[in-house]
């Protein structure tokens, strides 16, 4: 058994572990400051100042919030199923971090450059529904359960149109590898030829991450707190961080599919000198700002309207676009060959 664990394998594991640390630690810091950014953006939209007391410009506010959540007591409802109750936020948080394993933040800067990267991302985002269902069921509370059911139906519905949008992009690329998807956009970003799909994808991403105006799972006015009604302290914090990490993940996915990933906007030597990660981070932040802007601007959707848009508008539209795009590529003989 011992000869299986040789020196190379050990070194390989250490490298992977180091890469994960280098990715996850900045990610967590960004997640923390995204909550700060959200409060600042919403404050700016509403002509307020936002957090400005803790530290310079209120920059230490996320740390203070984290400290507060740490020091609170974890409360377990007596009728809750304890094991699943604790497991649920871990699943939600862990999945949104796990997705980053395949996202290339710059040319070659990726933990695992797998052939089916986009399918992996799609799978992970469709799994994130489990954190919510588990939380809703294990809490043994009607509001939590209703929130979980709503959100499960919502996420499953919007996955369908996200899947079709991804298919549209893949037809143009000819590969499931995220790096190749980015390289296929060297001449034109896919946002230009596939603009309607970008809109569909962005709105579906809002629904998939349970963000406003589709934040029905946590609809305070009708469901108290939705699926995390019974959660407190660190378990609540994990849901919270998981939601923001999922937001960043979806923004990263939008960047890779439509905005040319780490590529510079124009193929000019001066712009190409800028490291790819800066372009990637910039584009992702732009999409994140859109998330926050939407939250500050739009009222919440009613549930039946949400379902109507998902099934009756986005699904036919994206299906039509798949057919149109592949038809166009075949007629003009632009179909990508062996990439």
């Amino acid at each position: 058994m011992l000869d299986i664990i040789n020196y190379d394998a050990f070194l390989f594991l250490i490298t992977i572990f180091a890469k994960i640390l280098v990715l996850v630690i900045p990610l967590l810091i960004i997640v923390a400051f995204l909550t700060y950014a959200e409060r600042k953006v919403i404050a700016a939209v509403q002509l307020r100042k936002g957090p400005n007391v803790v530290g310079p410009f209120g920059l230490l506010q996320p740390l203070a919030d984290g400290l507060k959540l740490f020091s609170k007591e974890s409360i377990f409802p007596t009728v809750a199923n304890k094991f699943i109750f604790i497991l649920a936020p871990m699943v939600a948080f862990g999945l949104s971090i796990a997705a980053w394993a395949v996202i290339p933040v710059a040319d070659g800067w990726v933990i695992s450059n797998i052939n089916v990267g986009i399918l992996y991302l799609f799978a992970i985002s469709s799994l994130s529904v489990y954190g919510i269902i588990m939380a809703g069921w294990a809490s043994n509370s009607k509001y939590a359960f209703m929130g979980a059911l709503r959100s499960a139906a919502q996420m499953v519905s919007y996955e369908v149109s996200i899947g079709l949008v991804i298919v549209t992009v893949l037809v143009c690329v000819g590969s499931l590898n995220l790096g190749k998807i980015v390289y296929a956009q060297q001449n034109t970003w896919f946002i230009f030829p596939l603009f309607p799909m970008f809109i569909v994808f962005f709105i579906s991403a809002l629904a998939e991450t349970n963000r406003a105006p589709f934040d029905l799972p946590e609809d305070e006015s009708s469901l108290v707190g939705g699926y995390f009604t019974e959660y407190s302290s660190m378990l609540f914090a994990m849901f919270f961080l998981g939601e923001y990490a999922a937001m960043i993940m979806m923004s990263g996915m939008t960047t890779i599919l439509f905005l040319g990933g780490w590529l510079a906007p124009f193929d000019i030597a001066l712009l190409n000198k800028v490291p790819g990660i800066i372009w990637f981070a910039g584009k992702t932040s732009l999409i994140l700002f859109l998330f926050l802007w939407v939250r500050a601007t739009f009222p919440r959707f009613r549930y039946d309207q949400l379902m109507r848009i998902g099934w009756k508008v986005f699904l036919p539209l994206s299906l039509l676009w798949v057919v149109l795009t592949s038809g166009f590529l075949i007629v003009f003989d632009l179909l990508p060959g062996n990439v």
Binding site: L119, S126, Y130, W137, V156, N177, N338
Partner: protein, 201 residues
């Protein structure tokens, strides 16, 4: 190192599938089912079948198991009465089990013998040059196009059947037409009347 992971996945897969049957709470059974799907995905990845692995995650874990969970959570099941009557159904269960086992054994034997004869194409080519997504697509959409489309048709029939069974016409249902609501303008819906003071109803 691959073999360590193989045994890890295989052990968890077998144990979690045993727990699927023995768990007292049906919801726990579904969670164990999901765990076993996950480990099957791991085994697929180890074999280099990355496309199948991701499809297993997306289709079975991401969609089918969610529906299982939905149904089981919504049903008001008496867990105790579920456990009784195991002996009554044991004979039928045993027969089904034996048939399934025999099928698995036969298909494994078939894989070793006329591989080309059964599949028509040699699928076991694991190549780093061509992604196995492309390999699968090349086979599915050429040699097996009719079977593939038939499978799709069967699913379509199942979907139409489910819709027909659950759809019912109800009277007195007030439906909203979103297009009509969005397109209507102020002059169609709003009247502004000047009412003299004291004359208003």
């Amino acid at each position: 190192m691959v073999s360590i992971f193989f045994y890890l996945f295989a052990f968890i897969l077998i144990f979690s599938s045993v727990f699927v049957i023995t768990a007292k709470n049906p919801v726990h059974s579904v969670f164990f089912l999901i765990l076993s799907f996950f480990n099957a995905t791991g085994l697929f990845v180890l074999m280099g079948a990355e496309f199948l692995a991701m499809l297993l995650l997306i289709v079975y874990v991401g969609a089918v198991a969610v529906l299982f969970l939905f149904v089981i959570m919504m049903l008001n099941i008496d867990f105790k009465s579920l456990r009784t009557g195991i002996m009554k159904n044991a004979r039928l269960g045993l027969i089904i089990g034996v048939v399934l086992l025999a099928e698995i054994i036969f298909s494994i034997m078939g894989m070793h013998y006329g591989k080309d004869k059964i599949l028509g194409t040699n699928l076991s080519v694991v190549s780093n040059e061509i992604e196995n997504t492309r390999l699968l697509g090349n086979v599915l959409y050429t040699d097996y196009i009719y079977l593939f489309q038939t499978a799709g048709l069967i699913l379509l029939v199942a979907m139409v059947g489910a819709i027909v069974l659950t759809h019912r016409k109800r009277d007195n249902v007030r439906k909203q037409d979103a297009t009509k609501q969005v397109l209507r303008n102020k002059s169609e819906t709003l009247n502004i009347n000047d009412i003299e003071i004291g004359k208003g109803a």
